[in-house]
Structure formats: C-alpha cells, structure tokens
C-alpha cells in the first residue's frame, strides 16, 4: 500500500484514539468530587444562581445528553469556555501553545544537533578522551531534571550574558532574535537531558553498526573512512534512535511544564497547572485532548520517518 493510504489509515486510527481519550476525560471530570458551579461562584452562592450556572454548563442534562453534546462540540472543534476567564478553551490553548511549542522544537533541535555528532564521535573514538567527555556530559544531562538545568542556566548564562533575557517570552512575531534569545535557555534546559539519552543511544547503535559486515565490505571497496561512516553507517545507526524519538518526545513535554515555571513563561504548562489549581475543568479536559492529538500525530510522524529510512519496512506491513 502506498504512503497516502497508510497515512489515511493511521489518521483514522488516530481519531479512534482521540475518541477514547475524550470519553475517558468525560468520565474522569464527572467523577471528581465537587460541584463546578459552586467552584465558579464561590462558597456562599444562592441555589438559584447555582442552578443557572449548571444549566449554562449543561450539567443539568441527563448524562447521555451531556456525553452526546461533549462529543458533538468536540467534533466541531469546540472545547467549551474557561470557567474563569470566559475565553474559549481553543483560544486559551492556542495562546499558550506558541511559547511551549517554541521551547519544545528549539529544544529538540538543540538536542539532535548536539547528540548525534556527540554519539558518533563517542563511538568512533571509543575509550578515548572524546568518548569519556561525551559520556560524562551525557550522564550529567540524563541525571539532572530539566527544571534544575534551567535554574543553573538561569543563574550562570542568564546573568552573565546580558543579551539573553532570563525571564518571560517574546513572540516570534516580534522578530526572530528576541524570540530566540528568550527561548534559548528554556529550550536548552528541556533539550539537554534529551540530548544525553540520544547521545548514548547513538553511541551504542553506531558501535554495533561499526562491527557489521557491510562496514568491512565498504572498507574493502577502498572507500575513505568518513564515507564509510557517513554513507554506509549513519542511516543504519539512526534507525533504533528514531524508534524511541516518540517516547522521548513525551519526556520532553513533561520537562517543559516545570521549565516554564522557572523562566516565567506563560505557556501551555503554566495554563495547565493554573487551571488544575482553579479546577477550571473545561481547560483541563481540552488540554488533555490536545496533548493526546499531538502525541498521536507525533507517533505517526516518527513511524513515517522510520519507514523512510528503513527500506525493509513496507507501508501497512506488520513491522
């Protein structure tokens, strides 16, 4: 089957996954103790006010009607409105998403730019000082949580380099330079643990590849060593790394929530934490659904990437 049909099939599956997540969210929110209407109005609200708010939120309807409305709204892309601000959930998330996505994508980019070369050097210079340095730094990155790296970066680079602001966020619409200068430290904080893991994976996978027969064949052809490494080795070595990229992405998102706190960025993580504190359940449930959609498509993207570098895998085939 061709790539288009494969993507179509996987998209249908993704919709199924999101449907299940949406149902789970619906059930979970309604089994949490506490009355959302009372939360909105505060402790000493009048009963008729409470009833009005419940009606507005649709909570006076029978459960199956609520479920139907929830799904129907979702299908239209309507995630409801924030209980607190009254702003639509979609708009709230969209506003918060830009800084978070910026940090995430720049973080991944930093991680890959550091980790793949470091892993290759580590493998090709095995047991020499380059390997020890790369391994040491990688373990340092893996063993420190992102928010801690963030605090350290803030106190060192953030204070030492005046051009790098240590607080807040500037939208990319204000220009690339202010945007990047705000994003670079939090991105490094989330990217470094990620880089540590990818470095180690690239190293071990490259070491395995270096001992493969086809690498000896490539040498026996009289090809120069760098060509043997980058033409015959690299793609094979990256395959196992790509397969875990999806899982690592989840790790990275988790790191962003804490890092946004450290750098005072009004991002998605902040929005989520604030909404949980305030029991702003439309935002919480909307966020869970958006995150699940991001994950499903991230995994699809990773799978497509894997297939594009592994000719043994056919679209639609089992493995």
């Amino acid at each position: 089957m061709g790539v288009k049909r494969y993507v179509a099939k996987r998209t249908l599956q993704a919709i199924g996954v999101v449907y299940v997540v949406a149902t789970a969210v619906f059930v979970a929110v309604r089994s949490v103790p506490g009355d959302p209407a009372r939360l909105v109005l505060g402790g000493n609200a009048e009963p008729d006010e409470l009833a009005a708010v419940r009606a507005e939120l649709g909570l006076d309807q029978p459960i199956h009607v609520q479920y139907y409305r929830w799904m129907a709204d979702l299908a239209r892309g309507d995630l409801g409105d924030s209980i607190y601000t009254g702003q639509s959930v979609g708009a709230s998330i969209a506003n918060a998403a830009e800084p978070t996505l910026s940090i995430g994508l720049v973080g991944i980019t930093i991680a890959i730019l550091i980790a793949i070369p470091a892993g290759i050097v580590s493998a090709t210079r095995r047991d020499r000082w380059e390997d020890y340095v790369a391994t040491g730094v990688a373990f340092l990155g893996i063993s420190m949580p992102s928010f801690w790296i963030g605090i350290v970066l803030l106190l060192t680079v953030g204070t030492a380099v005046p051009a790098i602001p240590s607080f807040g966020y500037a939208s990319i619409s204000e220009g690339v330079v202010p945007w990047l200068s705000h994003v670079i430290l939090p991105a490094a904080a989330v990217g470094l643990p990620y880089a540590g893991i990818i470095t180690r994976m690239t190293r071990s996978s490259m070491l395995e590849v270096l001992s493969e027969d086809y690498m000896q064949t490539a040498r026996a052809k009289g090809l120069p060593p760098r060509l043997v490494l980058f033409k015959h080795g690299l793609q094979n070595a990256l395959m196992p790394v790509v397969t875990v990229a999806g899982i690592l992405f989840a790790l990275l998102l988790g790191g962003i929530v804490a890092v946004e706190m450290v750098f005072g960025v009004q991002g998605f993580g902040r929005l989520l934490i604030r909404s949980i504190e305030r029991q702003d359940f439309p935002i919480v449930q909307g966020s869970v659904i958006v995150v699940s959609i991001i994950f499903v498509f991230m995994n699809l993207f990773v799978d497509l990437l894997y297939m594009s570098i592994n000719p043994k895998i056919k679209y639609g085939g089992g493995a």
Partner: protein
Amino acid sequence: MSLLDIEDLSITFPVEGGPDVPAVEGIDLSVEAGEIHGLVGESGSGKSVTARSVMRLLDDAEVGAKRFDYRGEDLYDKSEAEMRQVRGDEIGMVFQDSLSALNPVMTVGEQIAEVVRHHGDVEESTGLLSELRRKYITGTSTSAPSWRRAVSLLETVGIPDPETVATSYPHQLSGGQRQRVMIASALGGDPSLIVADEPTTALDVTVEAGILGELRRLCDELDVAILLITHDLGVVAETCDSVTVMYSGSVMERGRTDQLFENPVHPYTKGLLRSIPEGASTGGELTTIPGSAPEPTDRPDGCPFRDRCPAAFDACSEPLPEHVVDDGHVSHCHLYTEGDDPGEVTWDAPAATNGSLDGTTERTHTEVTDG
C-alpha cells in the same frame, strides 16, 4: 613473478588477560595472474584472517611477513591512502554471507556504482559531499555512467533483468543473486585479483555450481585471478588451478590441483582426499579424519597435525620442514626428509561422515568426480 606472493606470514591476535591467539603461523601463499587458487582448510584453520590480511583489514591483529608482495610491491609498506587504491581497484573482495555483507539500506545498484565511481574510469565526483548528496538527497541517477556500468556488471555476472535488480535492496534478492551482486561489486574497479571468502558456503548445491561456474568464466574471460577460500575439496577439484591446504594456522601442502589430487604426499591431504565421495553413484559411506583440529592457543610443538596423524613419529615435534615434491608442488611433512620413502600411510577405521572439511553440513558434492 606471482601476482600475489606472500612468504612466512604470521597473524596474531593479542588477547587481553589471556594468551595471544596465533591464528596463522608462518605460511607461504602465492597466486599467479589469471588463475584460480584455492585456499582450503577446516574451520578455524586461518583462511578468513589470511584473506583479510591481503586487504589489510585486520585492525586488531599483528601481521608479520617476510614478504607480502602484490605485483612486486609489499602491501604492508604502503600508506593507508595508497592501500585504498589497492582495495577495490586492484583487489576486490567477496564475502561469504552476502546478506550481512551488503548494506541493507542501499540499492545494490548503488553499492556497485560507488566502486565504479571510485575506481573505474567514469568522470563523476567522489567527494564526501557529492556521495552524501547522492545517498541522502538525490539518489544515483540511472543515466549516470557509474549506474549504467553497474547494470552491465550485473549482466556480466549472469543476472537476468539487471535494470530492475539494480534498484532492489539486498533483502529483496535471493541468496544466489546477492552473491552475484557481491561479485559484480568486486569487479567494479576492474581488479586483477578477487579474494572470495567462501562465496558459496551459504548456498545450496545447484546455486553453488552456478556461482562457481561464473567465477571460472570471469577468470577465463576477464583474466582476473581469484583466491578462492573454501573448506570443500570438491569445490577445489571443480574450480581451482592450484591449491594451498591449510591446517590449524600452517600450510600442509600446496601445488597444482592435478598434482595434489593425483599425487598427494602429506598424510593430511591424503586423509582429506580419502573423505571425498568416489562418485555420484556410490553415495553411501564417506570417511573423514578422526579427531578435531587444536585451538590456536593449544597446538602441539612442531607439526600441528601430529596428534591426529597416523604416521606421526619423533621428528614431528620439530619445526615444519619444506619438501619440494615436484615443480610447484610443496609439502611440509617430516616423513619426507632427503631420500626417504615414507611408504603407505594407513588410517584407522573410517568414521562415517561427509567430504566437507567442516564436518557439519550434510551436503555432498556429487559434481566433484562426475563433473
């Protein structure tokens, strides 16, 4: 002058926290231009390490030789850069396991074409960036001279529909086709010597016969010499002009194939030949030499074969002598000191097994004597 002329080659693997492994101990090996020379021996006798030493691919071994001449120039005097001009260009290599020896993520056409670009007379850039661009971005153009040469090489080695096969990945081809691809890629630089390390061991008998026939034809038509490594005397009888018999890191006997098969002098060679089936019709009981070869770290002094040799005597613990039987026919055995007639060597009751030296496969080589 021989094309490849090696004298007193020793290959030792240093082992951390253990005794070094003397995989090869002082062997001579020579290959004449345009001939097929068989290097035959049991598993572990040192054939593969010898083959890789010719390409200088042994990074973790100490290689020493009085002489390691290719076309009169010592390969071990060359710089690594000069050696890259020998690999692929002068000497091509074919490995046993074609599935693992071919790169799984490259089309076989490109795996041949890159050799043509680096060593053939096509005017295509071979810089790192151009090669990486071809690999990761544009692919190799099917109208490029190197690609067309790759397709014609596939045709040369007897692959039908070479245009389609060239665009295939290794896992999409059969074992026999893959081995032909390996041979085509070894031919890509128009070498004078091909080192083929058990190119047919992984294949079944009919496919093997086809590949061996192909090697013979290439040798005759393209005038390329082949160092053919095998543990199968049937393959030698069928394909080789001359042969070197190895046993546990040493050479036992060498000479032209007809000399060795008609007049074997070393008890080891005699034992091996006795174990070859007498013909397709006899089938039945085959014999082989009782016992097994010693580990490289555990060889007796002198002749490594003496613990299994029915004719062993006191002198066998002395270093191996050289005995010239005939022009080009040399045996390394203490039985043949000047003027002595060793008489008949007799063997104990034959063990029932096959004619293959590895003692494990069930294949018999019916084509050996009736072919």
